[in-house]
Amino acid sequence: MTMKASTRQIDGVTVVDLSGRITLGEGSVVLRDLVRELLSKGGNRILLNLGDVTYIDSSGIGELVSAFTTVRNGGGELKLLNLTKKVHDLLQITKLYTVFDIKDDETAAVASFGK
């Protein structure tokens, strides 16, 4: 199952609902293009909902890191929402759990973005 992505706007925050796999040659490219597109349109407050992401590899992790630094360098914020246990474990093992701002409640996550 390749990755699918859809976006919603809530109080100026773009919520990106991702599902499927974020892996080399599949979801990685989709995620990269999506973040670039959002930034080009001025949307630099991004909440990635990973609740339905079933699989992620080191390329997928790299793409999340790249998205995070790209958005941050552009003066924006990118946060993660609803990590599955698999993704949580991967971010913990790679010490990225402390790098990302990770949320488990969408309303609180949206409210946490700077106005």
């Binding site: 892996t23 080399l24 040659g25 590899d57 080191s58 390329s59 992790i61 790299g62 793409e63 890191v65 790249s66 995070f68 630094t69 698999k86 991967l90 093992i93 790679t94 010490k95 990225l96 790098v99």
Partner: protein, 148 residues
Amino acid sequence: MTAMQVSYTYDSTLESVNQAEEVATCLAVKAGFDEEDAGRISIAVREASVNAVVHGNAYDASKKFTVSFANSNDGLVITVSDQGRGLDLTTLPDPLAPENLLKQSGRGIFLMRAFMDEVRIRSLQPGTEVTMIKHVHGPSAPDKEESK
């Protein structure tokens, strides 16, 4: 655990990586690993296969990579080998170092080592061979301690 020894040779494509990953998941479950460990084995095989295709064989259509699975009472032994130019282990950066934490790549071998009980990498000249072992009950199981 039922004895098993199988080997698959693949073209140097990302589609082959997906196939190797699927086979790894199936065989890990068949070998008696639970869903969590099977997922970890699957990621380790994926990472080794990606390295074989991308860094080893560099997508060269004339080169293949091979994934072999063998199990015994001690666990599952997986070997991934390519026909590429080899790997210089001394140049591998530590992905947990503060200066590398936000780098986009460089976590593949780290994840293999995190998810498998043993990982050995050697040059074949040409090529690289990665051998990964996952014990059924993990490295601290009593039977493994006795076998040391």
